[in-house]
């Protein structure tokens, strides 16, 4: 079990602040991806918070849009928008909805929420970078339940056909989808082999281990002629013992003060 350092606890506190503001949110699905996003934005991606549409930035598409609380927290921390906005999460006039929207929130590349859309879009982005002869890279993160959708596998074949070495897919493999364990709802195994068979260079990593993530993301592309898939082994609800591996915490509404106090307690 990977222990969380202060930066990971801090980012989770930002997420709990937003949950408090909105009274609801996809807690489990956000907490599993905090470290992956942290490493992406701390060390991997090129971007300018004050110029979110800077042409030469790397593109990151959060295909599992329901995990947006983690992305909002990281983007706010990096200065894409004020931290206080997190408190308005899901409120009527807020920019920060329950799923992220391009053109509304600085730093969001694609409006996602409907599953299985991010990888096809990312293939288009990666092709565009190549056609424009740009060095920008494209990263896309899907959930594990999300890759039940066939569109991902259509896009995977295309990414492989086009040898998109500038494209990296990150799968948040927390092994728990909305109803229950992925192995029971629709087993994905052997997952790494599936991506290999679809023509990707594949790595597996502990998605909460900062050092391992830095190492694998620092070594991209894994193959100069193939897209990369990184299977991130994660824990749904990571950081909150009562929520970890518990499908009841995939999404929560009607959060009480007691619930929130319990969450903050986990992060001290």
């Amino acid at each position: 079990m990977t222990a969380l350092d202060e930066r990971s606890r801090y980012l989770r506190r930002l997420i709990v602040d937003a949950l408090r503001g909105g009274g609801r949110g996809h807690l489990g699905s956000s907490m599993s991806i905090v470290e992956v996003l942290r490493v992406l934005y701390d060390t991997t991606l090129l971007y300018r918070p004050s110029e979110p549409n800077w042409e030469d930035r790397d593109r990151f598409v959060l295909s599992k849009g329901h995990g947006c609380l983690a992305l909002y927290a990281v983007l706010a921390d990096k200065g894409f928008f004020p931290l206080e906005e997190l408190l308005g999460f899901c409120r009527h006039d807020s920019r920060l909805g329950g799923h992220p929207e391009r053109g509304k929130v600085p730093g969001i590349e694609a409006s996602t929420g409907a599953l299985g859309h991010g990888l096809p879009i990312a293939v288009g982005l990666a092709l565009a970078m190549r056609m424009r002869r740009r060095t920008s890279r494209v990263f896309v993160m899907t959930g594990d339940g999300e890759i039940n959708e066939g569109s991902n596998w259509e896009a995977a074949m295309s990414a492989s056909k086009h040898k998109l070495s500038n494209l990296t897919l990150l799968v948040d493999y927390n092994k728990l989808q909305s109803y229950g364990p992925t192995r029971e709802v629709l087993d994905l195994e052997p997952l790494a082999d599936k991506w290999k068979t679809f023509g990707f260079a594949v790595a597996e990593v502990d998605g909460h281990d900062i050092h391992s993530l830095e190492e694998v993301l620092g070594g991209l592309p894994l193959d100069a002629n193939r897209p990369t898939a990184i299977v991130c082994h994660t824990v749904k609800g990571k950081g909150f013992p009562f929520a970890e591996g518990n499908p009841d915490w995939h999404h929560k509404s009607g959060l009480t003060e007691a619930d929130l106090a319990k969450m903050y307690d986990c992060l001290t």
Partner: protein, 309 residues
Amino acid sequence: MRKTALDCVHELARQDERVVFVGSDLGPGVLAKMREEFPDRWFMEGVSEQHIVGMAAGLAMEGFIPYVNTIATFLTRRCYEQVAVDLCLHDLPVRLIANGGGGVYAPLGPTHLAIEDIAIMRALPNMTVVAPCDADEMRRLMHATLDWPHPIYIRLAKGGDPVVSESRDVFRLGMSIRLREGRDGLFITTGVMTQTALTAAALLQSDRIEVGVRHVHTIKPLDVERIIEDVATVPAVVTVEEGIVNGGLGSAVLDACSTHATHLLHRISRLGVPDAFPTQYGSQQTMLSHWGLTAEKLAERMRLARRKA
């Protein structure tokens, strides 16, 4: 019309380096010359409409103008969520070139007959829906697509249809064209039904009934002002489309009148495909006869509408 549309993609690609072609496992040799000239901007992807629409969205996000082509039913039904979210929610300039609108693929059965495409595309915010009446108009339309900032659904009809549009008619997306004058009645039409309506109007003229024809190549955004002006001048209006009546051009005209000119609603009746999947095969022509979309039936419907007026 299809050949013209695709040839135009090649022409546009020569004019503008943003133009990209994306096909979904089309027939051999499609746009071979474009492929030769612009290999980096020509894509033949697999049978994967969900993916190609998403991919086109990604290309458009980076400033390209993708023209996506396959059979109409597959480009609408299979990937409706991708069209709604990836194209319309993002409001991206992707062009969907849909082969075989209406009854074109009659021998192939209901999986290939795009009867509700106009209705479901029209329901999407930010989508523009066009159905040109012949190959000449298709050419004018294609050149107008280059700088339109929204997604466009382009409905193709069968090839080799007679040319009825005129080059002096300025083509502007969203602006309909009056092709025939007449004070005794009005056909409001789209796509190749405009040709049939012109023939019907000629038939009626032999009975000394002067019926006008307004061709609505752009069903969305609808040319509300001109349509209402026209409806106000005649006792009877028949809308005609080679598509399901619920939600198509006729519904769009009724919607416009119910918002802006309720007093005109009773003048309008709709002709099109009934709310049912086709059970016959044959040819486009036999399907059109089955649906009552022939010049004779149109004329008959206009006579009836005038009697009721």
